[in-house]
């Protein structure tokens, strides 16, 4: 039998497919060749999304202090303990893989039931750094790009997009544009991906120099743009020559329809909002020079990163991108939620909640899903921080280092067992359908939260997902305009007018990155970036037999280094190397890439817990709460 049309639950592309099932068991997938997102294509993840539904290693029953408990007892236990804590000592960590409906209930539970703004999802601060800068600009959402627009672009400006298998539906458009339609690709990436041979121009600048490069491009096209640094300084910071910058500027200005594509996960450093400002400036210059249109496609990591944000799973956001201090929004939300007030002060974000747990400044956390494990690969640190909690509740499908220290675990229904909607990177609302019965006592996280809420004295009951949708449409009116029956039309794209941002503004001029100095002992600058998919650590993917096998092979610790430099210090391509930093050493495989700047080594440390000790702890920006990923110096030696 064939299910209703559903959407893949992995990345931010949101591919349309059907689930093939027999006697309640998922047996395969059928890609939709009518879907405007994927046009019949599926990546290795999408082709195997039915496999976790066949996997028997699931948490089937609630656990209270490690012992099997009934669902009712578990709900009572959580409510009883939660009652003891003041709102500021409780936090909720949601998930970018959870549906809109579920995320709406998460945000509502935090604010209406617990009365806290300590609600966030892993990875949010990375996205909002750039996305909000974009949405609050004069162009606002009108500058966002859909896949249909992408197919019409004649210049594709890709900045730090990483490897070609990260966002496959974007990859397909890039390759078709270049190979079939003769369009131009300007690729700017320190990482030398499989796109590089296909770029009309490929530049590999020094890391953290994006804002300089973008300003220099604007300046090259429009002499009136201020540039507070000399050409000498720009060359030194970017590692690019004047000719290279001019060539890039020429390429951009030759386009009538220009799309800038970037990965929200890659511009993860503190200067991201400034980079976005510079990108917007550049596109305005191009527009002024006569381009028909210039758009931006921010690639979002998970299937509902955009939706979780819009539903208010953030410490300073109510649903519909309204600020927690917006009086009108607060009043409207209060009336729909049946409360007289909402917490006013901005809450703790994800990183801050983890640090608070470490310092025992927070007593209870409710964690939904497993994204936290891929976003925070230092599992030992995570476990020790969360062990400090007086109450750790996890709503999850799989055992992990965290369920070992959780006081209560609720089994969670997974993709294919839940109904709802999600929003992809274009802002397109996509439907998910439930096909299989949740295993054991598993249920939607929103069910669990509703039951805990009711036990705490705030009656929250929805008989179905559709009921949640009806309520959330009242607070998120643009969602209410979506007609999912016409799922392939532009009517499914969420496009609100701009929003105002009190806290994310990029203040001040472009400034050179503050990087540690290299020395003879440590001649390399080691940068860690998300060039890889995090999927090999994603628990849903790991419960697909094929993906588990494949990802274990595709993702092993490597350090990427310039070929010439690597050879000169005795390394060999594909052979073991030892990397040593002031913090420690680790064994990796060294991989040669011709175009990585010399003096740079790239370590996709984010996904290998065994390399964490080499990098050191990341910091948190005091103002935005965004993580600051460390840059360290290193040396590389051949391991014998």
């Amino acid at each position: 039998m064939v299910s209703g049309k559903t959407t893949c639950g992995f990345c931010g592309c949101g591919c349309g497919l059907y689930l093939l099932h027999e006697d309640g068991n998922a047996i395969g997938v059928i890609p939709s060749d009518k879907d405007i997102v994927n046009e019949g294509r599926l990546c290795i993840r999408g082709w195997h999304i039915h496999q976790p539904l066949r996997n028997t290693e699931r948490i089937l029953h609630p656990l209270v202090k490690g012992e099997r408990a009934s669902y009712e007892d578990a709900v009572s236990f959580v409510a009883d303990v939660l009652r003891r804590y003041p709102p500021e000592r409780v936090g909720i960590i949601g998930s970018a893989s959870a549906t809109n409906e579920s995320s709406y209930v998460v945000a509502k539970f935090a604010r209406a039931v617990i009365r806290t703004n300590n609600v966030d999802f892993p990875g949010r601060s990375r996205v909002t750094q750039t996305l909000f800068q974009l949405l609050s600009s004069q162009e606002g959402a009108s500058v966002l790009c859909s896949f249909e627009d992408l197919a019409e672009a004649d210049v594709l400006f890709c900045i730090g997009i990483g490897e070609s298998d990260r966002y496959p539906q974007v990859t397909a458009r890039i390759f078709k544009a270049v190979v079939e339609d003769g369009r131009q690709l300007l690729l700017i990436d320190t990482w030398q991906s499989d796109f590089a041979p296909y770029a009309s121009l490929y530049l590999s600048p020094k890391p953290f120099s994006d804002e300089f490069l973008l300003r220099a491009l604007s300046k090259a096209l429009d002499g009136s743009i201020p540039m507070p640094f000399s050409s000498e300084q720009v060359r030194s910071i970017t590692g690019l020559s004047d000719e290279q910058i001019m060539a890039a500027a020429d390429l951009l200005s030759s386009g009538r329809r220009v799309v800038a594509i970037y990965d929200t996960a890659s511009l993860i450093h503190i200067r991201s909002p400034h980079c976005m400002n510079e990108l917007l400036r550049l596109l305005r210059v191009l527009k002024g020079m006569g381009a028909e249109w210039c758009r931006i496609l921010p690639m979002l990591e998970r299937c509902n990163t955009a939706g979780a944000l819009r539903m208010g799973v953030a410490p300073d956001l109510l649903p519909a991108f309204k600020w927690v201090t917006d009086a009108d929004a607060v009043q409207k939300t209060c009336s729909i939620w049946g409360v007289d007030k909402l917490p006013r002060n901005k809450g703790m974000n994800f990183n801050q909640m983890l640090m608070a747990a470490e310092r025992k400044e927070i007593s209870a956390l409710i964690i939904i899903g497993d994204d936290i494990l891929t976003d925070y690969p230092d599992h030992e640190l995570l476990k020790s921080a969360l062990s400090n909690l007086e109450l750790l509740v996890m709503i999850t499908a799989y055992h992990s280092p965290l369920t070992e220290v959780a006081h209560c675990v609720f089994p969670r229904a997974i993709w294919g067992e839940v109904d709802g909607t999600c929003v992809n990177m274009e802002g397109r609302v996509c439907r998910l359908v439930s096909v299989c019965e949740p295993k054991g006592d598993a249920r939607d996280e929103w069910q669990v939260l509703c039951d805990v809420a009711t036990k705490l004295g705030y009656t929250m009951r929805y008989s179905s997902c559709a009921e949640i949708e009806d309520e959330l449409k009242r607070l998120v009116p643009e969602y209410g305009d979506i007609r999912l029956e016409r799922a392939n039309a532009k009517t499914c794209l969420l496009r609100e007018t701009s929003i105002t941002i009190p806290t994310y503004s990029a203040h001040g001029e472009i400034s050179p990155p503050a990087l540690p100095s290299t020395s003879e002992e440590f001649p390399f600058l080691l940068i860690t970036e998300r060039y890889y998919l995090p999927w090999h650590a994603d628990l849903l993917a790991l419960h697909s037999s094929t993906l588990q096998r494949e990802f274990r092979l595709r993702f092993t610790p490597h350090v990427f280094v310039n070929s010439a430099v690597g050879s000169s210090i005795g390394l060999r391509d594909g052979m073991p190397a030892t990397i040593t930093t002031p913090h420690g050493s680790a064994r990796v495989t060294s991989i040669f890439k011709e175009a990585i700047p010399s003096g740079i080594a790239i370590l996709p440390e984010m996904f290998f817990p065994q390399l964490r000790h080499v990098i050191g702890r990341e910091g948190v920006d005091e103002q935005t709460g965004a993580p600051i990923y460390p840059v360290v110096v290193a040396r590389l030696e051949r391991t014998r």
Binding site: L20, I27, E39, W47, H50, S164, P168, V179, E180
Partner: protein, 361 residues
């Protein structure tokens, strides 16, 4: 009318089609449209949902998947001392109606492949009881190139029953014992076809050949690959566009790679371990597919795996062994590929020996 024989040419009036289909006492798979219009071969669909010849080209997933599904339970097991195995019940007879010539040719290849060195029982038990009523194509799709691959649009042999749609009636060609068996006892639905109709059929075949948009010079592909005269640079450029999604293998009706996985259920009270063994589609582009014991792989990198796929499909060594080129020209790989490295794109790149400006189709 007399008895039906292999080689008989008959006619079936459209008005009698549904009665004929109802008379078949076996599950019927036929093409229908899913919620958003995708074509899919469903089993026992309501007759009014079955698509007419002019209403579809082909399905996204080949109907060969009815005999070699994406996931298939091989047996259930119970281990408590002596292992007990429970095999699935023998498969029911199946009639696939509306299957196209390319998929019929693929089915014959699969029957050969799955019985060559040893018999793949799960596939073969199904194949033995499956009969194909194919409809020859008169309106090729934009991705079709079966004439380049001995895959159609009309087959001269290798089919069970081949229909050609002439508006008011079908020409019915009986091509095999299975086809004959299916029609025996149902002669009442048919008339003998006139010679004039058979001539019209031959002319229609020639006309259909002119309608194809793609020409894939498979012969050149075979020659260049077999003689190893493809430059490394050309291979590298093509392989760099592949993202190892597996799509080409999963939609190709001649691809046969599979993995075998055991699943265990939580232990029972008596300590018995229960579970099942299943097989699922796999792909030679996946790193783990070729991985051998002790972690060695003969194809550790994407480039070698990419080359391998096309060597298997196009090299003369395989053609001799398999009796045909490893492609029937169904065009599904074009639909699913992210990197423009589907069969015609690769073959034409090999032919023109350049990456940019090549005529891809």
């Amino acid at each position: 009318m007399g008895t039906v024989e292999v080689g008989s040419k008959l006619t079936l009036s459209k008005g009698r089609l549904n009665d004929f289909l109802r008379s078949l006492d076996a599950p019927l798979a036929a093409p229908i449209r899913l919620e958003h219009g995708e074509v899919h071969f469903a089993v026992n669909p309501p007759l009014e949902q079955i698509l007419r010849d002019a209403e579809y080209v082909n399905s996204t997933i080949s109907p060969v998947a009815l005999l070699f599904p994406q996931t298939e339970v091989l047996f259930n097991f119970r281990l408590n001392g002596k292992p007990q195995l429970e095999f699935p019940p023998p498969p029911q007879p199946l009639i696939i109606f509306g299957i196209r010539s390319c998929d019929v040719a693929a089915m014959r290849y699969l029957e050969m492949f799955f019985s060559r060195s040893f018999v793949d029982t799960p596939f073969f038990e199904r194949a033995k009881v499956t009969t194909l009523i194919s409809i020859a194509c008169q309106r090729p799709g934009k991705n079709c190139f079966c004439p380049c691959c001995a895959g159609g649009p009309f087959l001269e042999d290798g089919y069970d029953i081949q229909l050609v749609d002439f508006g008011e009636l079908f020409l019915v060609e009986v091509g095999s014992e299975k086809g004959k068996q299916l029609l025996s006892g149902r002669e009442g639905f048919f008339e003998l076809a006139s010679e004039e109709l058979v001539e019209r059929r031959n002319r229609l075949y020639e006309e259909t050949l002119q309608k194809f948009e793609i020409a894939s010079h498979m012969g050149t592909g075979v020659r260049k690959l077999t003689s190893r005269s493809v430059s490394e640079e050309l291979w590298k450029m093509m392989a760099s566009r592949c993202i190892e999604c597996g799509g080409c293998a999963f939609v190709c009706p001649l691809c046969t790679c599979f993995d075998v996985v055991d699943h265990k259920l939580p232990s029972e009270n008596d300590g018995a371990v229960c579970g099942w063994r299943e097989r699922c589609w796999d792909c030679c582009q996946f790193a783990g597919y070729s991985m051998e014991a002790a972690g060695v792989s003969p194809r550790p990198d994407k480039l070698s795996r990419f080359k391998r796929r096309f060597y298997h499909k196009l090299s003369y060594f395989y053609m001799e062994m398999d009796g045909r080129v490893g492609c029937v020209g169904c065009g599904r790989c074009i639909q699913v590929c992210f990197g423009v490295v589907d069969m015609p794109a690769v073959v034409n790149t090999l032919r023109e020996e350049k990456v940019f400006g090549v005529r891809l189709r």
